[in-house]
């Protein structure tokens, strides 16, 4: 039965992708992209990838749409319909498509248990996680400890994006672009404000739940950071930029990003100082399992702080930028 549902979602996915390409109104395209992400998230859920579904929904649908809309606000909303060198593109596309389709015929069928992927590393992880880390979520275990170095790289990608956006948009906008920081926000709309004010605390609470409950259920630093960031962005949309910046000033955000990144790196360096390899949590405490858990909780906190700070400072860099009227 689940198969029919999966078929339905995948075809819907393709239809949305084609629709995105066709529309010339960028606003519609962005909305369709967020629908595309949600469909992708549900697909991931059907394929048993709960963590990835949550991330895709929070980061893919949530934050990407916000950033796209902020960018559209600062530029134009309409695309000039124009197709450049059609023939060349179609030729390149057909060649690549045929290349990939050619490769799909020998791939193991979806879900067949004796595919090489399931023989080598996966069983070791599934067997060793309860033994070394003694908590259910294997994905967080791999993310935090077995392949912790990747996640460190990941945090620094987010950090690079954050300082990149601040660096690029650090330039003074062209003169003649007016912006009234207090104009934005739905001040005179009572209902959204009331509902918003009611929702935001629960959102933050849910974000923190995801952050610290990552070992037991799908969750972790990335998803938590995105959720908390979306809560504060909702606050910014409702109360206006100035209120949001007063609530969470830019210096705090930068502190969050730098603190998160340094916390993660610091944990690794402490492991070296205590005699283990980089990011080897077993040396942190005498009991290896407790050490692994504390290590993972610490770095997940670092990741959460970094992602939340980065996404928020990116949002503020776009939202608080005076527009060219």
């Amino acid at each position: 039965m689940i198969i029919v549902f999966a078929l339905f979602l995948l075809t819907l996915l393709v239809i949305t992708a084609l629709a995105i390409v066709q529309t010339t109104n960028l606003f519609v395209a962005v909305m369709l992209t967020s629908i595309f992400s949600l469909l992708m998230a549900s697909n991931f859920f059907i394929l048993d990838a709960a963590d990835v579904a949550l991330t895709e929904a929070a980061v893919g649908a949530g934050i990407t749409t916000v950033i796209f809309l902020a960018a559209l606000m600062l530029t134009t909303e309409h695309e000039k319909p124009h197709l450049s060198r059609r023939k060349l593109n179609t030729v390149v596309i057909t060649i690549l498509a045929s290349l990939i389709i050619y490769a799909t015929f020998d791939k193991p069928r979806l879900g067949d248990p004796d595919a090489p992927v399931h023989q080598h590393l996966a069983p070791w992880y599934l067997e060793k996680t309860p033994e070394y880390m003694d908590f259910p979520n294997v994905v967080t275990a791999i993310l935090g400890s077995f392949r912790g170095y990747d996640t460190l790289g990941e945090v620094f990608v987010v950090f690079a994006a954050c300082i990149g956006v601040l660096f690029i948009l650090g330039v003074k906008p062209p003169e003649g672009s007016t912006y009234n920081p207090y104009r934005s926000g739905l001040k005179h709309h009572l209902i959204p404000q009331v509902v918003g004010r009611l929702l935001i605390p629960f959102l933050v609470l849910f974000g923190l739940y995801v952050q610290f409950h990552g070992e037991y259920s799908p969750g972790g630093g990335f998803q938590a950071g995105a959720l908390i960031a979306s809560a504060i962005i909702l606050y910014a949309l409702l109360e206006g930029e100035a209120a949001a910046l007063r609530a969470v000033p830019r210096s705090v955000l930068l502190g969050l990003v730098i603190g998160g990144a340094t916390l993660y790196g610091g944990v690794g360096v402490v492991c070296i100082l205590m005699g283990g390899n980089f990011l080897e949590y077993t040396v942190l405490l005498d009991n290896p399992v407790a050490a692994q858990q504390t290590g993972i909780i610490l770095i997940e906190a670092g990741v959460g702080m970094a992602v939340c700070g980065a996404l928020l400072s990116i949002f503020h860099a776009f939202a608080a930028r005076p527009m060219r009227v």
Binding site: L186, H189, I191, P192, V195, L198, L199, F202
Partner: protein, 107 residues
């Protein structure tokens, strides 16, 4: 005995919820004006959600899942009308007036 009654009841609720979603979908497509379409869309969000969620609660019985379903229902019932309100308000501000004669030229 009780299970069969609960099953039939939840099955019945789920079906009506499904039908309501179908009606909402058709309404969004067929109705001429933005506001009427918005009206149909908000139908699915409120009525159909309640029916489907209650149906599922009956299925789940008194477990952790029921509490989660209840929180989802509370969350949806809170945000869905607000979203429709915001949509309608934005449409009004961007000059899409809902008065009568606009409907005629569209048919």
């Amino acid at each position: 005995m009780i299970e069969t009654v609960v099953d039939i009841l939840s099955w019945f609720l789920l079906c009506t919820g499904g039908i309501f979603v179908l009606i909402g979908g058709i309404g969004t497509l067929r109705l001429p004006d933005f506001y009427t379409r918005l009206h149909a869309a908000s139908l699915t969000e409120t009525m159909a959600t309640i029916l489907i969620l209650v149906g599922m609660i009956l299925q789940a019985g008194l477990t952790l899942a029921t509490i989660k379903l209840l929180t989802i229902m509370a969350f949806l019932l809170l945000t869905a009308p607000t979203a429709s309100y915001a949509l309608a308000n934005a449409a009004l501000q961007s000059g899409n007036s809902p008065n009568a004669q606009q409907r005629d030229d569209q048919t």
